[in-house]
């Protein structure tokens, strides 16, 4: 077993354990912390694939920004088991059934998916920042600019809603 296999196994184990922690933990703050751990482990996978830019953007956007906001809200609301409203039974059944249906769809989709064989001669530096930037601003410039407009409108929308 090579060193990259060992790292891959350890990162995957951490990611899966943390993902289980998110749904099994009773305390919402612990859930958020597990989610952060999971994101960091997934970022580790990106660096294994030499996708450095994706790695660092994942850290900045998800662990650095979005999860901080999650934590912020949860800490201010101070949720705990005592004040948690009792859910009705039928809601639990509905949740289990819809979750199971989603799992079924995912398994069915993955079963028929064909994984293309990795070409040994494929370039490994495609995830580096200069290559990614050049691709984004030449081949994919229209979708890129369109999504930036989308982001801008989302920001304006958030400000408008916040002012009400």
């Amino acid at each position: 077993m090579g060193i990259d296999m060992i790292i891959f196994t350890v990162l995957s184990a951490i990611a899966i354990a943390a993902a289980l922690g998110v749904i099994l933990s009773k305390n919402p703050v612990n859930s958020v912390l597990c989610m952060i751990t999971c994101f960091v482990a997934i970022a580790g996978h990106y660096i294994m694939l030499n996708a450095q830019f994706l790695f660092v953007v994942h850290l900045i956007v998800y662990t650095g920004a979005i999860m901080v906001l999650f934590l912020f809200v949860l800490m201010m609301m101070n949720l705990n088991a005592d004040i948690e409203p009792q859910k009705r039974n039928w809601l639990k059944y509905a949740g289990a059934i819809s979750g199971g249906a989603l799992l079924l769809v995912l398994v069915a989709a993955l079963r028929d998916a064909s994984v293309p064989a990795i070409q040994s001669g494929a370039p490994t530096d495609i995830g580096l920042i200069s290559n990614l930037g050049k691709t984004l601003f030449t081949s994919y410039v229209v979708p890129f600019e369109l999504s930036s407009v989308l982001f801008l409108s989302a920001m304006v929308g958030a400000v408008v809603i916040g002012k009400k």
Partner: protein, 349 residues
């Protein structure tokens, strides 16, 4: 990532380098506490610590010993695991940044070249932004886990302050990258070695970065998270013994790292004027370069302390106004002008 390149020597080199950088950061952070009191004393016309050892040089050791042996109190209503995790996170994120800073050029040991940078990745500066973003967790987790409303208030203040000042910091850095064309700190230093220091080309960007560095380190005049006269002491109110020590220590490590970062990004890092025309051996030039970087870093650390003992604390709304209404528009304007000048120099009108 090509992991087949990792051999025994590489591993030993990197582990040695990491240990050295970590030890030096801790040592400098330790003596920063001493220097801070000496500078304060000098500014306020006092003597400062002068009992333990010559010039009070053993004072940090005495303080460390005191912190270790003090009684440790964890409040009974606190979340124990998170209460311990908070200061650990603060310390971890403070130490992570030093990985991408080039501490010097290449040292040659009989044909074996050792680059004095732990990781020369081409996302160097983005890594720093990522770690700065994660620095919030130490404050937030500690403040919340204490189960004290003053700690929580301070943690919220700290988190919103760090988030607010990350934005102008990032925008100021974008203007710098537009000139350098690279995100690798090593490249940025090498460019300044041959040309001008970037502070000449980016004075506004540097000023914005400097102000944001003060805010990110929670230093006066932006030390709102630990405003003792409003919040009884801030997010580490319930902490005692070495856990409190970790929080205080993390602040000094942050200060050291951001000083080194400013020296690297805007003041030429380990390069110094005429370094290539001295006619000395490359190893000696490298060592002089390390000294130059540390000299610049210490100058910035002194500046941090000078400001702390000169300016009073901002009010919270002033802090937010400065961040969102002054620094962000200024950084955007700086970016626009930089872009226009680069475009003009490339193809004229």
């Amino acid at each position: 990532m090509d992991l087949t390149l990792i051999d025994k020597y590489f591993l030993i080199e990197k582990i040695g380098l990491i240990s050295a950088v970590l030890a030096i950061s801790l040592l400098i952070a330790m003596y920063s506490t001493w220097a801070e009191r000496k500078v304060a004393a000098w500014i306020q016309d006092r003597r400062g610590p002068n009992r333990a050892g010559p010039f009070g040089l053993l004072q940090p050791l005495a303080d460390g010993g005191k912190l270790f042996f003090k009684e440790e109190i964890i409040p009974s209503t606190a979340n124990h695991f998170l209460f311990v995790l908070g200061p650990s996170m603060a310390m971890l994120t403070a130490c992570l940044t030093s990985a991408v800073i080039p501490w010097g050029d290449v040292l040659n040991f009989g044909g074996y070249a050792v680059s004095l940078q732990i990781a020369d990745v081409n996302i160097g500066v983005l890594w720093i932004m990522a770690v700065v973003g994660m620095g919030v967790y130490g404050i937030m987790i500690g403040g919340w886990a204490s189960n004290n409303k003053f700690s929580l208030l301070a943690a919220c203040r700290g988190a919103s302050q760090v988030i607010s000042y990350e934005l102008p910091m990032g925008l100021a850095l974008i203007a710098l990258f537009m000139i350098s064309g690279s995100l690798s700190l090593k490249d940025i230093v090498e460019q300044q070695r041959d040309g001008l220091w970037y502070v000449v080309l980016q004075p506004v960007g540097f000023l914005i970065f400097l102000i944001c560095a003060f805010a990110e380190c929670n230093r006066t005049p932006f030390d709102l998270p630990e405003a003792e006269n409003e919040l009884n002491g801030g997010y580490h109110l319930e902490y005692s013994s070495m856990k409190l020590g970790f929080y205080l220590f993390a602040e000094y490590i942050n200060m050291f790292i951001s000083s080194a970062l400013m020296a690297t990004l805007y003041f030429g890092g380990y390069s110094f004027p005429y370094m290539d025309s001295l006619g000395l051996s490359p190893n000696l030039v490298t060592i002089l370069g390390i000294c130059a970087l540390f000299l610049k870093t210490f100058a910035f650390i002194f500046f941090f302390m000078w400001v702390r003992w000169t300016l009073p604390r901002f009010r919270y709304d002033q802090l937010m106004k400065l961040g969102w209404k002054v620094l962000i528009p200024l950084a955007l304007l700086n970016m626009l002008i930089t872009g226009a000048v680069i475009l003009y120099r490339q193809n004229g009108f």
